[in-house]
Chain length 298, copies 2
Amino acid sequence: MNKIKIMINGIPGNMAVNLAKHTLADDRFDLISQSLTGPEITKDEHLIDSIPIRLIHPDVREQAITEIKEKEGSFISVDYTHPSAVNDNAEFYAKHGLPFVMGTTGGNRKRLEDTVCSSSIPAVIAPNMAKQIVGFQAMIEYAANKFPDLFKGYSLEIIESHQKGKADTSGTAKAMAEYFNNLGVPFSKEDIKKERDPDVQKNVWGIPEKYLEGHGWHTYSLLSNDRTVSFEFRHNVNGRDVYAQGTLDAVSYLDIKVKEGEKGKVYSMIDVLKGVTTAGQTQKPSFLKGYRSRSPLF
Amino acid sequence: MNKIKIMINGIPGNMAVNLAKHTLADDRFDLISQSLTGPEITKDEHLIDSIPIRLIHPDVREQAITEIKEKEGSFISVDYTHPSAVNDNAEFYAKHGLPFVMGTTGGNRKRLEDTVCSSSIPAVIAPNMAKQIVGFQAMIEYAANKFPDLFKGYSLEIIESHQKGKADTSGTAKAMAEYFNNLGVPFSKEDIKKERDPDVQKNVWGIPEKYLEGHGWHTYSLLSNDRTVSFEFRHNVNGRDVYAQGTLDAVSYLDIKVKEGEKGKVYSMIDVLKGVTTAGQTQKPSFLKGYRSRSPLF
């Protein structure tokens, strides 16, 4: 089975580096040892598990990508760069015929989608690459559509904790607040309680010290107005490994779509979830095998 | 608006009595002051909020029901009796053309359904009348169908607590275990952890003393194999009020179906959930109004 070549853009950023490590450890993939990087990065190389990755600065990327395409043939690009670069990068990928997985949040999402739709490439665009969380959101969305007002008369509390550096409220928590509104619960996104204090995270929440710098914990608590019935939903992520795993599944999914000749199409993680399942269950057992034990890290 | 007449069978059983209290307190309904009861009950009357309910023993029920039908006209029967009586009672309701809501568990469920399908009445049959729990189960079932293997590589723990008298494992927990199997998690129903010790329930779980004799608490915990991602779902019910509320919504739903002329049809709580929603949102605001503040107890 041919390995899928991946170019990961955004090194030396945390998420891009973590993904590169997972890619190196996963025998489904070959990592291209070059990465588009931002104008603020001054060095030309970054070591990942002692493998040197050449960092391509914006001013030389046109020339560099032509050489990479000549050398590598077809590959999938993954973007974990910066919100300010989202649209420009997407246009760059489209112009050069590079199918991509966009893991970077922010930018103009409508324009991002339009860029792909009017291009000759397919892309996976997903603000959250954690498949299980995406699946959980899909469940709640299903209930909101199918049983609006299911939780009418209930009160809601949403609390979330993320690393100190994260200034804004969790996007997942905000999306969930909207679903709960549709389920009959009045709740304003401003009422989501954010925890950013490492002391409280460690001592009150019990978040392990090594993950204080990278975690996303969410709890949604519903209480009936007579206080006899309560529901609680939690999803707690430590570190960034689950996002890397989901990204690699998105790459595998996109690779299939490229080989099927799809063009100008945007896929979501929901598509990936369904695709992974189908692949694993009926057609491509080797894909599922890769999915099961993807990395010696686990 | 005409009130819906209800005959509640199974008094003086806990659930039937609780439902009768809710019915008396809800101005959508009129309670018929007679109740089919079991052969083991020796008294002829039971007081509910100082209202005497005549208890009809099995040997006189044929005669009694004919008189009740003559006096009351059309009404909805609700069955909260005993697992051993489920099929016999359903055949009794069918024979006398009495649309019914079956809240009693056990019996031969296939035969129960067949009884309705070959009759001239519609019925709501639901082993769990708590609408929010039914909605939650529907969500998980949706995910299991749509994203099988979503939680592949995760381990699962299910713990539940019920009143000391409940010998068997929670039926809801067992149904959920199956959904999680379909989501890729190997788990045997025998591994569900049951708590039936009131001391542990009170001191470890924190279940309020007044609910030790009637509660259903469930927690499902998922952990990824690399231990970096966890999910937790809980639904905790104290007392029996939520089941009474759901039962009365089922009665309202069935009353609409009777008036629409439906015959020989079995409805589930999922149908009721959708029906309540539809009624509340588009066609019958008065129904939702009743749903909102159904009882001075809350």
